[in-house]
Amino acid sequence: MTASTFEQVRNVASDIFGIPADKITAESSPETIDNWDSMQHLNLVLAIEEKFGVQLEPEDIEQMKNIGAVAALVEKLQSAAR
């Protein structure tokens, strides 16, 4: 994954979870981030869709196990759109 997509995803997560971007890594997940509950998961989905102009299918949303996976998903959707 490119640094810039990961960085952008990390910034979105930073906004949603209220954590400084530098404290978020590719491994950050609902297990490591306190307030990443199902509602925040939905907020993350909405923010990702808004920021990157992509549509996340229910199957995609299930794959979003950590921030790295989210960034990889975004890249996949963006290259599919091209």
Binding site: D15, I16, P58
Partner: protein, 637 residues
């Protein structure tokens, strides 16, 4: 999706830079500017990510200023049959932009009936100011939504009546426990009715019955104090139900509203929250040029401005209708425009395309003074706080100036396209009202009648009538010890109506006054509204064959009322008496003195030369007909 915040502000910064600036301002402790920039960030980028940032910084500001942010606190509870949590940050950010510190309690998913009926529920413990009951048709009337085709007509009708009775019971139970406002979403009709086009051929079809429920809900709500209908059906229709509804999100997260429209749901709730919290505007102050008509009246003239039933003037007529509708709710209208009074009044009263006229405005400030000052005066004149003003102006710099000087004024972010002006006014929550009294409806007429009684009638047959009405008295005298300070000050401070912008100190004036070839005059003006004091200075210099006007300036307060004509006429007459055949004057253009540009030609001077510095004008004193106007009582000392 319409975006009401499409104008870049004069700062012109990107949101990321603006975020950094906001954090820096908070760190520095300049909390009021930080607050303004935060509201600006939200206006420019009303997205869900921005909402989180805005809310977190707003809470920081609230803590750091120990809650002295001068915001109105308001508590909203949302009872719901669908997911609303993603809307809450955007709602709170919108509320912050309206000066409201909004605390939100969201009831559990689909427990709205229990929340209402149980006196010990978290709803009542929260002690809200208002409650939104957001229930969709699929939960409120499942038989009509899903199973309509299976129902016999009688059964369908009974189902509809049952739904209404249910709501009636909940409303009555709620009212027993709480005096809070209750805002009830109406039910939406199915985008594709069970029976297709057959459905619209009868009022007992699926849509017909749902609309019947909504009508009954309205009737029931009106029987209780503080219970209101939120027309959810109309909201969805406005944006198109195919765009509004998100089937994927509904199935995975029970969020039926598409991400792009969450903000619109928040804004619809704000249309109730703003009037309920009292943060409404009582006066809407509007600009004239490029706001009430296309073009600039002072430059384009009556024939050049665009306002009428055809494009492009039609956009402005739509705005007029929106203004009239606002005024019918008891909100006063006022004008604040940088213009010559008579030019602007002529357009307002006489242009056939205008649907609003002077009589529709409770106050008029048409002059060259700073708008923030005019707004303060309008608030005082109309006896309202400046926080009750709303301001409509096409010019982003004027808007920003007012925001900086008067942060409590609701400044409407007018989109660039005039076709969007009317909806910017109609969509502004500060003009919403939940009640209408006879007094509200008649308020504008009452103000007009009052103005007439006070003799301040603002519409005249001709500008001469207005000048006569003003009853001006002017006192013209050579500069003296008593007037020296003010005369020098005026030369230093006057920028707009100033022909040569020459700055003089008191010693310089004293020195000039001692020499016989220099003549320094001041003019003081009193009219029916009061004494304006010393408002003009003219300095004439005799040199060789001619008398030159070295300095000619007038305070903005009295521009456009022919005081300048009286002063100039005196210079001409006294020069002629001293034996001069010509009076000459220069216009030296600056960034600010455009109002004075045509002064000499308007008074019969002829252009003699133009060079890099400016234009030299000359008046033949033998043939000149320049006189003090007869509606000014002039006393020359």
């Amino acid at each position: 999706m319409s975006d009401l915040t499409s104008n870049p502000t004069p700062g012109g910064q990107n949101p990321p830079d603006l975020r950094a600036e906001i954090d820096a301002l908070i760190a520095q402790g300049t909390f009021d500017i930080a607050g303004r920039r935060l509201a600006e960030l939200w206006r420019r980028d009303p997205a869900s990510g921005t909402a989180s940032f805005v809310i977190s910084r707003f809470e920081e500001l609230r803590e750091k200023t120990r809650d002295k942010l001068a915001l109105t606190k308001f508590k909203l509870a949302i009872l719901r049959s669908f997911t609303v949590e993603p809307i809450v940050p955007m709602l709170r950010a919108e509320a912050f932009a309206y000066g409201i510190d909004l605390e939100v309690h969201v009831g559990d998913f689909n427990t709205y009936v229990q929340d209402i009926l149980d006196g010990q529920s978290s709803l009542y413990r929260f002690a809200p100011n208002a409650v939104v009951l957001a229930v969709r048709t699929d939960q409120a009337a499942p038989e009509l939504w899903r199973d309509f085709a299976d129902l016999a007509p009688e059964a369908a009708q009974q189902a509809a009546e049952r739904v209404v009775r249910g709501y009636e019971q909940w409303i009555a139970a709620f009212r027993k426990q709480s005096e809070a406002a209750l805002i009830i979403h109406s039910l939406e009709c199915p985008p594709s009715p069970s029976l297709g086009i057959l459905d619209s051929q009868s009022d007992a079809g699926q849509s017909g019955l749902i609309r019947q429920i909504n009508r009954e809900l309205q009737r029931v709500s009106a029987e209780f104090h503080g219970v209101y209908s939120l027309d959810y059906e109309a909201l969805v229709a406005r944006h198109g139900s195919e765009h509004w509804h998100d089937e994927r999100k509904w199935l995975t997260a029970r969020l039926p509203i598409a991400a792009g429209y969450l903000l619109q749901m928040a804004r619809e709730w704000m249309r109730f929250i703003v009037p309920l919290s009292g943060r409404t505007a009582k006066v809407l102050v509007v600009d004239l040029d490029n706001t009430l008509w296309g073009g600039v009246i002072g430059e384009d003239g009556m024939a050049g401005i665009k306002v009428g039933p055809e494009y492009p003037g039609a956009a402005y007529q739509s705005l007029h209708r929106a203004l009239l509708d606002v005024s019918r709710k008891g909100i006063l209208l006022a004008v604040c425009s940088k213009n010559n009074f008579d030019d602007a009044m002529e357009a307002l009263e006489k242009h056939p395309g205008m649907l609003v006229h002077a009589k529709h405005f409770a106050a008029l400030r048409i002059n060259w003074t700073d708008k923030a000052q005019n707004l303060r005066e309008i608030a005082q004149e109309l006896n309202v706080g400046s926080d009750a003003l709303a301001f409509l102006d096409d010019n982003p710099f004027e808007r920003e100036q007012v925001r900086a000087a008067l942060p409590e004024v609701t400044v409407i972010d007018l989109p660039k396209n005039p076709l969007e002006y009317a909806s910017a006014v109609r969509n502004c929550a500060a003009f919403e009202r939940l009640t209408l009294s006879t007094e509200d409806q008649q308020r504008t007429e009452m103000y007009a009648a009052q103005k007439q009684r006070a003799g301040a009638e603002q519409s005249f047959q001709s500008k001469e009538d207005f000048f006569r009405f003003l009853d001006q008295e002017a006192e013209l005298e050579p500069v003296s010890e008593l007037t020296l300070a003010r005369v020098a000050q005026l030369t230093q401070k006057t920028n707009q109506f100033n022909l040569t912008t020459r700055r003089y100190t008191e010693p310089q004036i004293v020195k000039m006054a001692k020499q016989p070839e220099w003549h320094i005059f001041s003019i003081r003006v009193r009219d029916r509204f009061g004494d304006h004091g010393l408002v003009g200075v003219a300095i004439a210099h005799d040199e060789g064959e001619q008398c030159e006007v070295d300095t000619f300036l007038l305070s903005c307060r009295v521009i456009g009322r022919t005081v300048e004509t009286a002063l100039l006429a005196h210079l001409a007459e006294s020069a002629a008496q001293r034996g001069y055949k010509r009076l000459v004057g220069r216009f030296l253009p600056t960034k600010k003195n455009a109002p004075a540009r045509d002064f000499y030609p308007q008074h019969g001077f002829e252009r003699q030369e133009t060079n890099g510095a400016g234009t030299l004008w000359t008046l033949d004193l033998k043939s000149s007909t320049l006189r003090c106007p007869d509606w000014i009582k002039l006393k020359v000392k």
